[in-house]
Amino acid sequence: MNGKMFSPSQLRAGLMLKPATPGPANAHYTCTRLRVRRTRLLGREDYMRMLEMDIPQIARFIGEHGYAKEIHTLDSTRFDTDRLEVVLMQNLSEACQNVRELTSGPLRLLTEWYLHRWDIVNIMVILRGKRKGFSKERIADVIAPAGDIDAAAIRYLAEAPSEREVVDRLVLWQLYPIIAKEYAQAKGDVNLSALETRLYRQYYIDLLRKCETGIPGADLFAASVRLEIDLANFRNLIRIRTGTVPEDIREQMLIGGDIPLDEFQRLAGVDEKDAFLTFFRGTHLFPLLVDSYNALFPDAAKAKEEAEKFIAERWLERKRPLHEMERTVNRLRLSRLEQLSKRNPFSILPVLVYLERKKYEVFNIRAIIRGLEDGVPPEKIQQFLVI
C-alpha cells in the first residue's frame, strides 16, 4: 500500500458503493414489472430472423427492440462490430443498474449481491490493466459497470495511478479484505489469477449465505447456485485434466456446491470408465447432462446410454467439454429456474431470471453478430444461443 488514505465519505463521494436502501420490499410490484420486462426480451423467432439478416439489419432490428439509445450512438453508415459489442454491454449494464434501482429491501440486498460478480470482473480488469500499464481509455473499453460499483466509481478506480492505488481505493468494497490480504502478503507481484479465484470463492460463499436470510425464493435460488457451482467445478476439472493435473485441485474450485471438493479431488485421478460412471451417475449433474445431450443430439436413440458413453469417452480421452453442451446446460438450467419462478411469482426468482435472461439476450445478439461476421453457418450459431 502506498499509505494514501481515503475517508469513507471521500470514497462514497467517488460514487462507490451506493448504500442499499433497506425497507419494505414491494415484491409484488417489482416482480410484476420484471415479469413484464421479461416478456419484452427477444424470443426464439426474433433470433431466427436475426440469423437471416446482415449486421446493419440486425443493428436496426435490435434498435427497434430495446436498444434504440445505444444503436443511435453508432455510425449508421459503417457498423463496427467491436463498437456494437461495447454498446450491447452498456445496455446490459444499464439494465442491471435499473433492476437494482427498482428493487428494495431484502430483494435488493440479494440482487446487489448477485450483481456483485460484475464488480469482480471489472476490478480484475482494472488491476490487470494497471499492471500492464494500459491507459484508462483502454481499460474503460472492456468494462461493463453492471455491478454494485457504478460507472463513475469504475472510472475513479481506472484513474488510479497504480495497481496498489486501485486496492487502496477499494477499502469500502465487500471483498476488500481478500484483496488487501493478498497484497499485504505478496512479496512481489500478486498472482492475479489466484486472487480472482479467491474472490469468486468468497463471492459464492457470501451469496449462499445471503440466500439463507429468508427472502422468498432464496432457497430455490440457492439450489440453482449450488448446481451452478457443481457444474463449474465439474467443467473446470475436465479442463484441468487436459493438461498436467496439480496435486491439489481444490484450490481452483468453488466452495458451496452439493458435491464435496474432496470428491472432485478423488475424481481427478480416476482413469477407469466404471469408476467414473459410478461417480457421475450418483451426482445431480447426471440428469442435466443427459438432458443437454438429448437436446443437442435429438436423433440419439438411447439418449441416456449415449450421453453416458459420450461423457465417459471425453473424460477418459482427457478432452475438453463440448462448448455447445456447455451452452445447452446453461439453457436447461435457466429454463428450470424460470419454471420455478413461475411457481414462485413474488420471490427473488423473477428478478434473477430477468437478469439472467437479459444477460443471455445480449450474449445471444453478440454471438449472432460475431458468428455472422466470421462466416459461421447459422445452424452452428444457433447451437450457441441460450434461448
Binding site: D82, V125, G129, G243, Q252, L254, E326, R370, V376
Partner: protein
Amino acid sequence: MQGSIQATRSELLAVKRRIIIAERGHRLLKMKRDVLILELIRIAKDARQTMLQLEKEYRTSLDTLAVAQMMEGSIGIAIVAFSVETVPELKPGTRNVMGMRLPVYSSTGVKKELANRGYSLISTSSVIDEAAEAFEGLTTLLIHAAELEAAVRILTAEITRLRRRVNALEFSVIPELYRIRDTITSQRDELEREELSRIFWMKKKRAGL
C-alpha cells in the same frame, strides 16, 4: 591477360599451379553446392509440409477464435488477453551447414500449461483454453516456419552464388588458364625449335668454312 604473358618456365609452372588450385576449388565448390542443394531439398520439403500445416492450423485457430468471440465476445477475449503474465521469448541462434550459418530459433513460454496462462478458470470457459492452445500451437509452428523460410532464403542465395562461381571456374577461369598454359607451351616449343634451328645453321656454317 594475354599481353602480359611471359613464355617462361616459371610462368608455366605458376599457371599450372593456378590450374591445380582452380580445379580443386571447382571440385570443392561443386561438392558444397551439391550438399547445399541436398540440404535445400530436405528443408524445402519440410518447409512445404510446415506451410501446409500452418495454413491448416491458421484456419483451425480462426475457427476456434470465432467460437470464442461468439461465446465470450471480443470484450471477454480482451479481458483474457489482459491476464497474460508471461510473454513468450524468442532466442535466435545458428547451426552450421558446410560453413553456412542457418538460423535456429529457440522459444520459451509459447506453449503454456493451463495454470500458467494467467486467467482464472472460474471466470472463463473451455472455449478460451481451446483458442489459447490453438494460437500457441500456431505461434510455435510460425516460429518453425520462419526458421525454415529464412534457411531456404539463405541457402537459395548461397546456391545461386556458388553456381555462378562454379560456372565461372568451369567455363571461364579454368579454360582460360588451360589456354594460357597451351599458349606458353606452344611459345616455348616455338622458341626451342628456333634455338635448334639456329644451332643447326651455326654448325652448318662452321662446317662450310
